[in-house]
Symmetry: C2
Subunit: 477 residues, 2 copies
């Protein structure tokens, strides 16, 4: 059965190396997305909270709740972080949605190549309309039919284990800054039988999706987090796949070096047990307490007619929208959304150590983390007190990320966060390669890891969604 | 640096294969343990709760608390488990100790062989006096000196990363039936400089400790959980280590087959992503809610003069003891302990699939689990409603474990749980090999995995302490 395992990693890698697709070219896909976007356009309007028909402020707590008590609840939390002699405390609203949803992609082997069934979909908070999303995105409320809408398409492929074989099946948590332990099951299932292709759905190679990840705001966060779970390698080692003729990574290219860093036996600067010890140590040094409080009882935050806002104009706001649409499980609804104050920055510094690309990761403390600390990108400047516009507030390595010379930027693109929960939330995602002589500031909070090690940390749910998002954008071509 | 990583796994394996020790034979070690046990004997007396000087029932809640509010608290919980159409609810007391302690062993390479500094130590709840324990076991209260006692010996080797190199450094949770998310940092550090050997401490090879694990109740749970984290293999594959002359595993022996099952490239029946999918699926099917309630507010449980007991005489009791001792950080104290109603049973069924040993694991739901479900042994009949004495209540595979023919029993020994929290808590630990034709009852709750896969699950804190305990008992000789 080992060959089956080998097979999966290699099959993913092969699909990542090609845009050859008998169903559509990548340009066709762009046109199709735009066309579906126009067809299914959403009318989204910011409204006062009093205009939300299904949502209201609970009288006893001031929490923002759905009339059924389902979906999610916005309440307050008091956070206390201590680390050595340093102590920090703050209050903030948080979205409480403890159930586990599904983000699922159907894969199918067609003529020896793996294809992925992706959907053209709009969400009310999207900054730029239509996005490429997984085959299925369903909250537990969705698939247990709380909202009485239509049954989500393709759901049964994910609920019935006989109908499909999981290739990826991992629990991943989402934004720790704004969600209290929200998790989704990130799944890719392979289906052997014929799969009907519904309107708004199309087959893509992984290489085509990677190409679309170079376009701002086009591939949804839900798609990115699932893609980030995929190991791209051949198990045998880092022999180049499909070199030359059939479009393999070009030797010495950034893609080929990523591929090498993902391989087994890649010679990491820090052995696996050293990386684990680093993470254990950060978790033991930080103490995080998160206490639930009523939304009405939050000094420093004010509830206005159209927004719940921080008086210092920091973090984010909670706003309300009404939405009308043709092509949804329900045709009109309203809901709260989290609206960031500014565009954030998420960046990896990478460098060669011993000839192998390494990523600088850090331990990030956020209130919604399931276990104190998540593994994050080198720069994680998102929805926090720090501002991209105020260099005095910048975290370590922000300077290197923002002011990187063009020649050092391996990836840079604006991507948006989940439009079903966030309103126009964008981050600049960036990978910057620094010189092998670049010395990281000595700090227990950071560690150099290879892509294989990072993929392993992703696998067990230890890497935060922003870092996963950025990893998904990396292409081995 | 990959060679360093290879080195560690191989060095552990080499130490596991030998009892050669210039400091003491294994027989010497037994005599030394008995002698230390006599020297440091504890006088433990069960007393009424009113006789506990430092502990009392909090007036507002009835919770059992220390006067400082530190160490731990016994309160109540209401548990609700739902899975498909099945719903279960119950109330029980639980020990709440959310801080992270340290269980640490110092390792030192002496003349090319790895030795481990172990302590002879007594705990009030031990069923049979002295035990072999890690170099250090310290709660956070211990090492932040809440109880004003002496500073634990060897503490600085674990707090000062410059003094020692971690070989193992993992967060592991403990009994999910009685602890609310109690975790310890399980650490093995290698020290290069000379280490003073204090009274009550001695150097052991891993092979010697494995030998002592065949003696009932002699190696403590704290030692076992740390030992369970150790990968025993050479990274290159399963070439036999030190075959023949220098005491390697005998070809075809159970030890050699364990070693093969631990190797990379061992051909598992279920590929790694299939095992992960199995665990993800169990977590998604089970919903667990744990709600804190006052200890005073627990229908079905009664507080007597000397015990808090379940009226159906099930689960466990909470009792109080006073302790006098010579050789402790503090010389006399009293404390509550958890006292099981009966001896439990923890067993792995193993069988060869494709010529490779596989272990049958199950998803175990207990209230103190950090993430709904832990990976447990095939039979996990501990501190629950099920009774070893009542076959009608037996879980699946209990029959095979209890009534295994002698020729199929690969390991069987009574081991005790942590004597600092449990009073005379013993479980029968067993490994039973079944015929390759043995068919497991089809159930989504169980999965066959190799020892390598199980070790990987241990590494990320996903395997419960009872299963880890049993894994520690396995010897590759």
């Amino acid at each position: 059965m080992i060959s089956e395992d080998t097979c999966i990693e290699e099959r993913f890698a092969r699909s990542a190396l090609t845009e050859d697709n008998p169903y559509q070219t990548t340009d066709d896909a762009m046109r199709w997305l735009n066309e579906r976007g126009a067809e299914n356009a959403l009318l989204v309007e910011r409204v006062p909270f009093t205009a939300l028909r299904e949502w209201s402020f609970e009288s006893s707590t001031g929490d923002l709740v759905h009339r059924t008590g389902k979906f999610f609840r916005v309440h307050g939390i008091r956070i206390h972080v201590s680390e050595g002699t340093e102590e920090r405390s703050w209050l903030q609203p948080i979205v409480d949605q403890p159930e586990i949803g599904i983000l699922g992609i159907i894969a199918k082997q067609i003529d020896g190549q793996l294809f992925f069934l992706m959907q053209a979909k709009l969400e009310p908070g999207n900054p730029a309309g239509v996005q490429l999303t997984p085959t299925l995105q369903a909250t537990r409320s969705n698939y247990t039919q709380v909202h009485q809408g239509a049954r989500p398409k393709y759901l049964d492929y994910f609920l019935d284990r006989a109908a499909a074989t999981p290739l990826v099946d991992q629990l991943q948590f989402e934004q720790g800054s704004t969600f209290l332990r929200k998790r989704n099951r990130n799944v890719i299932v392979e289906v052997l039988e014929d799969v009907p292709v519904e309107e708004d759905f199309r087959w893509f190679t992984l290489g085509q999706i990677k190409k679309l990840l170079r376009v701002p705001n086009l591939v949804s966060m839900d798609a990115r987090t699932v893609l980030a779970c995929i190991p791209l390698r051949d198990r045998a080692g880092h022999r180049a796949l499909g070199r030359g003729g059939d479009g393999g990574p070009q030797k010495g290219s950034f893609g080929a070096r990523l591929y090498q860093s993902m391989a087994h036996g890649e010679r990491p600067a820090n052995a696996d047990h050293v990386v684990q010890s680093w993470l254990t140590d950060v978790k033991c040094r930080v103490q995080l307490s998160v206490e639930r409080i009523p939304l009405a009882d939050m000094p420093g935050w004010a509830r206005h007619e159209r927004a719940i806002s921080h008086e210092g104009a920091r973090f984010f706001e909670v706003v309300g929208v009404t939405v009308r649409a043709k092509n949804r499980e329900v045709s009109a609804w309203d809901q709260p959304l989290v609206s960031p104050r500014e565009k954030g920055m998420v960046a990896f510094l990478v460098k060669e150590i011993g000839g192998v690309l390494h990523f600088l990761v850090q331990g990030v403390v956020e209130p919604g983390n399931p276990d104190i600390v998540s593994v994050g990108a080198t720069v994680h400047c998102v929805l926090s007190e720090r501002s991209v516009h105020d260099p005095a507030s910048w975290p370590p390595y922000m300077e290197e990320a923002v002011h990187a010379p063009q020649s050092a930027i391996r990836y840079s693109c604006v991507q948006s966060e989940e439009g079903g929960r966030f309103y126009h939330a964008e981050n600049e995602y960036r990978v910057v390669e620094v010189d092998p002589t670049f010395a990281a500031v000595p700090s227990d909070r950071y560690c150099w890891v290879t892509l294989r090690q990072l993929n392993e940390l992703v696998r067990w749910g230890l890497v935060n969604v922003e870092a996963r998002s950025l990893l998904a954008c990396l292409s081995i071509t």
